[in-house]
Assembly symmetry: C2
Homo-oligomer: 370 residues x 2
DNA sequence: CAGACCAATGTAACCGCATTCATTTCCGGC
DNA sequence: GCCGGAAATGAATGCGGTTACATTGGTCTG
């Protein structure tokens, strides 16, 4: 590691100029096979790896795309561990601990899982297109600084809706293209990737009405400030209206998207009386409702139809299995990168949007048989 | 987006030299408050964001750490979608589809989830230390090229064991520090982060022997070439020997770490006769075994004790809930970054290793009550 | 065989920032 | 009001590549 080799070293060793070395690496056909081999030999011998910084500076592009997410839930302090060198074998200290785990853990990280999938889709697509992905996660206020930090290093930035203040976003988009993920289409000039929240919820609502003979379902809404929640509510609204029902007859409950909230509301419903169907605006709450119903001996879907929204993994494994609308999470990430790629190709094209289709997944919690 | 502002633009606008601009951004205290304000004003007005490439080149460090994983399972071709501009509202095309999902999906991506968690830990720690994280995923042969590609852009690279051929690794480590994750300690000069596989399995084995009154358990091994598998086997071996039992008496079965394999082996055991306990070298297989046992009406843990290893989420939700050894996945990522940070601080320190403790999680599948 | 062209290679000018070293400004003490 | 030293600022250089342009050496053509 004494000295990292540069083009100059390679050039000297191969007896050519640095321009030729550069050509061998970037446009191999432009150089005579003999010379090419000679240069490649020198590259191998020296273990030369081109500096991304220098290349990025010269080319005026980095080949890196950024993905910026709002924070994971802040984790606790780092567990301490001991570092040891390879002589010592580090035998000291606890190697394990034993825990009796009585109750199943509350499942917490739905949002996290969502992001993991998006990330995976983005990574895949980025790779296919020859980009590298840089991930940034915001934490509280310095979010802004992280985003700016990334902005200087990437050719384009994919931002999850609401993870960056609008004004910051605007400034960044003056420097590099921005693709906004999963947010509502705004009047801004950024590109957007969204999902068919409203359409999916409308389709699901029609299905539910069919199952309950057109009786008015209850609706379990999320936080008022959730754009996704708002779109889903719109879809619901539309389907209700189209069915000739009166929206005013719909009991609307409100939760915070958490499983606990669902449980609480489920308990309340058991006490106050069950609707023919309960349509939740996300899976977590629906699962909580199922918890409560199961505990109270309420039969789903016979006594009440229950549906969710999102398509998280746990929904496929609940008892009964939860009917839901699956968001194309991986696809979201992928589409974001694709849109970004187009934007980079054509910087001056008008703002683009992509709306991804959702999948209404009918499962036991909503399907009444024979 | 006509022209991206640079230090020069900022300097001109603020009526100072570029050196001063640079100082304002890097060592604010070195410049008089009045000037500082003037410069910052210009920065804001111009929407200046420093170029990561230029900075990286000048500073000879990028502030980026790389995380290199072996490939996700190759995903299928991209789903197509339509891009529309903001004028048109893209109403055409399917907005959703409806699916009847009869059976619960096979759960596939355990390895993937593992990586997600590691990534999260790494991201967190990287952020705390002021680094940005670049993720790269290898796919098949070009894996090498991705890794090299990253090597030119980062200050240090964390690679998952076996994801990069040894010779490539060696060349890369000549350029930047490498931290090997979750692999066995080799004779190389890289830094390592590992998990107490053997110690965890030994502790778990002692627990099982206790539950079964010292009767010899069966062991369900994984693929022969899995280093983790080997370490776990060693721990098992040791515990058996220490209990005064004869290893030759232990029936050893072999699977491929998949749930299907576990199911197959479970079926076989039902037919051929149950051992007092079955210790699997990973969770997936253990879950498969539970599937088979449940289908056959075998009671766990009364008829047979079953244990896994890894601590995947599904293990906490199985019926009965699976006793296992939890790997500190998030911690692994975090530790890797921490080791990397130390290495960057002290490039010439001797090779470091960290071995993280595991957690033996006792659940219903192994605990026989009064 | 000279002139024209083309392919292969070399030369040198950036790319945008950090930083060293020289220069200027500021301030307190007399 | 002047002087000396510290603080603030500016000029110039290097980081490691890419690439436009110049140069060289051949090959082809008439």
């Amino acid at each position: 590691m004494s000295k990292v080799p540069t083009v100059y070293d390679v050039a000297e060793r191969a007896g050519v100029s640095i321009a030729t070395v550069s050509r061998v690496l970037r446009t191999p056909d432009a150089v005579r096979p003999v010379t090419r081999e000679r240069v490649l030999g020198a590259v191998t011998e020296l273990g030369y790896v081109p500096s991304g910084s220098a290349r990025g500076l010269a080319e005026r592009r980095t080949g890196v795309l950024g993905l910026y997410f709002p924070g994971f839930d802040a984790l606790d302090e780092a567990a301490e561990f001991t570092v040891f060198t390879d002589d010592d074998d580090g035998a000291a200290g606890d190697e394990f601990s034993i825990v009796h785990e009585a109750a199943p853990p509350e499942d917490a990280g739905a949002a996290t899982l969502f992001l993991d999938e998006v990330l995976r889709g983005a990574e895949l697509e980025a790779w296919r297109r020859g980009f590298v992905l840089m991930v940034g996660v915001g934490r509280g206020d310095p979010a802004t600084s992280v985003a700016r930090d990334m902005a200087g290093r990437v050719d384009g930035l994919v931002v999850l809706a609401n993870s960056v203040p609008d004004d910051v976003l605007e400034r960044l988009s003056a420097r590099i293209p921005i693709v906004v993920l999963a947010g509502p289409r705004r009047g801004d000039s950024n590109d957007h990737v969204t999902v068919s929240n409203a359409q999916g919820m409308a389709a699901l609502t029609r299905h539910v009405l069919e199952q309950t003979g057109g009786r008015v379902p209850s609706y379990l809404a999320g936080p008022v400030d959730s754009p996704d929640g708002a779109q889903r509510w719109q879809g619901f609204q539309r389907a209700i209206a189209e069915a000739g029902l009166d929206l005013a007859d719909v009991p609307v409950l409100r939760g915070d998207f958490s499983r606990a909230a669902g449980r609480r509301i489920g308990d309340e419903l058991v006490r106050s009386g069950l609707p023919p169907a309960l349509m939740s605006s996300n899976d977590q709450m629906a699962l909580g409702v199922l918890d409560a119903f199961a505990a109270a001996g309420v039969r789903v879907p016979q006594d009440v139809v229950v549906t969710g929204f999102d398509g998280i993994d746990a929904a496929a494994r609940s008892h009964p299995r939860l009917t839901t609308v699956r968001q194309p999470m991986t696809e979201l990430g992928r589409a974001a990168i694709e849109v970004m790629a187009r934007r980079l190709d054509e910087p001056d094209a008008p703002p683009m949007s992509v709306r991804l289709p959702v999948e209404v997944v009918l499962r036991d919690s909503s399907v009444r048989r024979g």
